[in-house]
Point group: C2
Chain length 308, copies 2
Amino acid sequence: MINKLCEKIRKTNAPIVVGLDPMLSYIPEHILKDAFREYGETLKGAAEAVWQYNKAIIDATWDLIPAVKPQIAMYEQFGVEGLQAFNKTVDYCHEKDLVVIGDIKRGDIGSTSAAYAAGHLGKVQVGSKTYRAFDEDFATVNPYLGTDGIKPFVDVCKEEKKGIFILVKTSNPSSGEFQDRLIDGKPLYEHVAEKVAAWGEEHMGDAYSYVGAVVGATYPEVGKALRKIMPKSFILVPGYGAQGGKGADLVHYFNEDGLGAIVNSSRGIIAAYKQEKYARFGAEHFADASRQAVLDMIEDISQALEQR
Amino acid sequence: MINKLCEKIRKTNAPIVVGLDPMLSYIPEHILKDAFREYGETLKGAAEAVWQYNKAIIDATWDLIPAVKPQIAMYEQFGVEGLQAFNKTVDYCHEKDLVVIGDIKRGDIGSTSAAYAAGHLGKVQVGSKTYRAFDEDFATVNPYLGTDGIKPFVDVCKEEKKGIFILVKTSNPSSGEFQDRLIDGKPLYEHVAEKVAAWGEEHMGDAYSYVGAVVGATYPEVGKALRKIMPKSFILVPGYGAQGGKGADLVHYFNEDGLGAIVNSSRGIIAAYKQEKYARFGAEHFADASRQAVLDMIEDISQALEQR
């Protein structure tokens, strides 16, 4: 799957991922209205609106991009109905041959971590049968519990040729409270990055490891340092666009081969029609606005990479 | 809800929580058979078996205990069907007036953390209506992302009079990889504990804060130190029983008032019938074995507290 991700990035020339993090406040009135007419103002109605919104955005962007990153919290808040919309979204993205990064940020230990890994990346056994519950291609994982929390994911990833992105340095303002604290003269996030590199050696694709890292776009200098510590790990980069990151800030997250990083934008793409820049599309044509925002993001990052 | 937890602990004289972490391998043959007969060897069949197993254990133990802690991974691995069993379990525990600690270990930032908080502890807005998706009383939360990840949970907890337990020092062997590293001469987990104490001041119950901590039973000396750093925080203690912790190790997790800690046992209670000690009950009477294991655990901890 990491090889597929590399191949798709090369083919689209777009090292980007569209974050499918639908908030009801992003969804245009006409979609909400249709969904509520059919199912009422219920959790099922909300889930239907989320699904129709996602589908339109996927239809308008899938040929331009290698991957999507649905943020499961945005579905989970609507309970099992919401998670059904999550599943529909994942399945539809697979139909469009997109790589699906489940932004689930799970993290536990032993058999519990194994259950998350089985549920999101692998198979569960029920009597003599096996099933895939959520079936993403990659998942994000929290490192706070150490190797015991990561190993069960890596084991499932090996079987399934799937991967994980481990939180190293997150994009939020308070990420430094613990992640930046110095341990033996180096910030905690560098210690985590060293572990990511070590865990990653256990499960390599052709050029990159199946074990990647999350490093926020909002700390470019950190990205530069971490790129060197984890040369074989793909870096998933949140924080572009709405959170403040720009293409020019991100060149050092990439290796010389133009690979090694994949930049996420969520709100900046899926709610593009709400920005002044794309207001001309109007709410009716929100998906066209998303397509234009994807094109602009690809241009921004390509230019930055060419000029480095 | 923290006041209710204190009151129920006093009434039952049992500072314990039963971890409802059902693995299919724990579930007696007769329950699996019935569930598979009704729904086949499907995710729905697995979910039904999990629910029937939980229900029997709750029926056999609810009058002895203040709280339960379902581990959501064990349900999530069976997809939306599994999460329906999670919901049924939470609702049934509420019918029995048990405090429900959702062991979800979520952790994200801003609107994403807010979505998890709304989905598990609060309400989501759909048009003019509001709904509760999962509706636990407490949730476990990962601190790696700092205040941005915690604050949205605390905000919802204030509205709902609910609480969280933040991972401070986990019970697993590799928990020290990051958590024990020294920062300014103190381990990371102490820095996290100081934050827990500070966050906790923002949302106090009568004697204890709604913001608690998770500290593993497997590191008694650490528990002693952390008790002092977070005097007003309840400590949720995993790792008793199957993971090696004993009552005598845990006395320093408690305050002088006999409160301040709640000790979890999962496998040791719910799969008690598989232990030699309780084999006499047999698989048919697994729930009676669980009841006896609860009584023995209460006795072990009470004795330890009396002898301190």
